[in-house]
């Protein structure tokens, strides 16, 4: 892998107009990655999901150079119908389209940051990999007081031109005071065996509201990692919803720093997995000042030999009095081979806090199935009704009603 990385790195650098200093930084990151390699089970954060093994077993040899000199055709059939929205389209990691057609142009600034490498507060080697290979990085700045009229959908498409590739993406968002953004990440893949490595950084100023919905619904054999860092000022709100379902492997990591008083973070998620899929949600919520709140609800429906992991950490520092932290996970295991792992962690250094966590898993209730079938529903219908009913309260946590309906439709919850 080392030779491949070096060769691909040199190829990549050739096409970029970088200063000597930036090249040095990227080289440094590359060397870091080469030294550490992909995360493996020996690392605490990866003990349930050995990425190194997963890549070995499912992809084999990866290559890291992506030819971004020519444009990809945008397949408009993947665009969401019936919901007016702004778009950013990534195809094979290349930005093909940025379109804020519904917004006041002077209220959103798109800043090219390709030449600044910002450090992520994430010690794993994937941020080094990302730093070394991303060649375009934009910051989207929503100006003071501006609330986007329509949601932004970021399309992450991987088409059949590539195979066994690593794709790295990076985006930064700044929501200035009193601004708001609804952001949907929608994944659609028509190619197999690639590894997508995404880093987002969000800065939420006072009163800003971010709603990020990550939708991995469509069947695919790719491996994905996504890292959100969210920094929150006073009174800001972040709402993250994850529908984790389509990919072979997907690990979503949310690191949220509640820096300002009365800021709050909500992370809700659904794992709906079959076959031998393996997904993880890892959250770290840092309550860093007083009167902050976090709430997390994760529900899983696991078929066949699929596996879901939820590692949720709530950290409360000594200044963070009156913290309110809550997390709950529930799983339905539809098969003896399926597996759910929950690892809650509470690290609390303040005394006047309210923190709780819980986790439960079990199989589908046979008595309920019998009840529904005795009313004429067949087994399949009964099962579907029970599962959708089980998932409903997480979906109901979505505060945007249009997007809630979109996601209900995707899951097949009828009204």
């Amino acid at each position: 892998m080392k030779e491949q990385l070096k060769k691909d790195f040199d190829n990549n650098i050739k096409n970029l107009n970088l200063s000597q200093k930036d090249i040095e930084i990227k080289k440094f990151c590359l060397d870091n990655f080469i030294e550490k390699g992909f995360p493996n089970r020996k690392e605490e954060d990866w003990k349930f999901s050995d990425l190194n093994q997963l890549i070995k077993n499912n992809i084999g040899e990866l290559s890291f150079y992506n030819d971004h000199t020519s444009t990809n055709k945008v397949d408009t059939s993947v665009f969401v119908d019936g919901l007016e929205h702004n778009k950013i389209v990534f195809i094979n990691g290349r930005i093909e389209k940025i379109d804020f057609e519904y917004e006041k142009k002077d209220q959103i600034e798109i800043i090219d940051q390709s030449e600044t490498i910002n450090e992520f507060k994430n010690s794993n080697s994937l941020s080094d990999l990302n730093n070394a290979f991303t060649n375009k990085c934009f910051k989207i700045l929503v100006k003071k007081g501006y609330q986007l009229i329509k949601p932004l959908i970021i399309y992450h498409s991987i088409n059949s031109k590539i195979w066994s590739k690593n794709i790295n993406l990076r985006l930064n968002f700044e929501l200035d005071k009193d601004s708001s953004l609804r952001l949907i990440d929608l994944f659609s893949d028509t190619s197999e065996k690639n590894f997508l490595n995404i880093f987002y950084n969000f800065e939420l100023k006072e009163n800003a509201v971010l709603k990020n919905y990550k939708v991995d619904k469509f069947e695919n054999k790719n491996i994905k990692y996504s890292f959100n860092n969210i920094d929150q000022d006073k009174n800001s709100v972040s709402e993250t919803f994850i529908l984790s379902s389509g990919s072979k492997f997907f690990k979503n990591e949310i690191n949220c720093n509640l820096n300002g008083e009365y800021s709050s973070a909500f992370v809700n998620g659904i794992f709906s997995l079959n076959n031998d899929k393996h997904h993880e949600i890892r959250t770290i919520i840092n309550h860093l000042t007083k009167n902050t709140k976090s709430y997390q609800l994760i529900k899983s429906v696991l078929e066949e030999s699929s596996k879901a992991v939820y590692q949720g950490k709530i950290f409360v520092n000594s200044d963070a009095q009156k913290t309110d932290g809550y997390q709950l996970s529930k799983a339905i295991l539809l098969n003896k081979e399926s597996e759910f792992n929950a690892k809650p962690e509470l690290e609390i250094y303040a005394d006047d806090v309210k923190c709780s966590h819980g986790s439960a898993s079990g199989s589908l209730n046979e008595d309920s199935i019998f009840y529904l079938m005795s009313r004429g529903l067949n087994y399949q219908q009964s099962r579907e009704l029970l599962i959708n009913g089980f998932l409903l309260d997480v979906v109901e946590k979505i505060t945007d009603s249009q997007i809630k309906n979109l996601i209900k439709n995707m899951i097949g919850i009828k009204e």
Binding site: N365, E366, D367, S368, F370, Y371, L372, M373, S374, R375, G376, L377, N378, Y379, Q381, L385, L386, N388, G389, F390, L391, L392, D393, K414, E415
Partner: protein
């Protein structure tokens, strides 16, 4: 309509029904009375197709072997069980459930499925008759319903599905006298020469409102005595002890 012949049932090697026989013809109302643990719910469950029992003997429904049918096929053919303990199903809207159920049964019977408007009209009409709070139709199925509301919901489902054989498993327990009358009314309006009822109860109280043609006493998984409506009164007076 229903012929039960020497029915035996065990669960986990524990024998619950021990050679039970019973014939029910169209137009008849049968009551089964018996102490706790005598096997009343087990009989209801087995007739509705609940899994997990080891069953032997014969059960014919309209001359066909009932025991080999799936639970939902029995519902399609017209068997209905009002549960002793109706289940709470979180996240499932009552109206959607009722419509799905009704249309599944109608479809299997070769009848036209109802659209949303037709269905709502029907369910409102039936709810009114049963004094079932319509607001409950938009709630999650049985979640947060009182005991009485759950039982009324069972009777609502029964009246929607218009079954041939309705089994009421202790529908009367936990009901106040008004609710009891409503339930009895529901049964009496449905009652005609083509359908039949098997009313399982603990007390003879319900039988003041639903007049049975036959009363059977079930003890230790077996019918120990059968008779007319008077048998219920006799039971009430003497207690079960004297029937062993």
């Amino acid at each position: 309509m229903l012929k039960i012949n020497n029915l035996n049932a065990t669960i986990d090697n524990k024998s619950i029904l021990n050679g039970l026989s019973l014939d029910i013809n169209p137009g008849q109302v049968h009551a089964i009375m018996g102490p706790n643990g005598s096997g009343k719910s087990t009989l209801s469950n087995i007739l509705s197709g609940k899994k997990g029992y080891e069953v032997s003997g014969e059960v014919l429904f309209e001359e066909k072997d009932l025991l080999e049918l799936e639970t939902e096929e029995r519902a399609h053919k017209g068997i209905f069980l009002a549960f002793q303990y109706p289940l709470e199903i979180p996240g499932v809207n009552t109206n959607i459930f009722l419509k799905t159920s009704l249309n599944a049964v109608r479809k299997a019977r070769g009848e036209k499925e109802l659209d949303a408007i037709e269905f709502l009209k029907l369910v409102k009409e039936k709810s009114k008759k049963l004094k079932f709070d319509e607001e409950k139709l938009n709630r999650q199925l049985n979640v947060g319903f009182s005991g009485g509301e759950k039982k009324k919901n069972e009777i609502l489902q029964m009246s929607l599905l218009d079954p041939k054989l309705s089994i009421l498993d202790e529908t009367d327990s936990g009901l106040d006298i008004d609710a009891l009358k409503v339930v009895a009314d529901g049964v009496n309006t449905l009652r005609d020469k083509n359908n039949a009822f098997l009313i399982i109860t603990h007390y003879q109280r319900l039988l003041d409102y639903i007049k049975p043609d036959f009363v059977h006493v079930l003890m230790n998984g077996k019918i120990v005595k059968s008779g007319g409506p008077d048998l219920a009164l006799e039971l009430e007076k003497k207690g079960y002890e004297n029937f062993n």
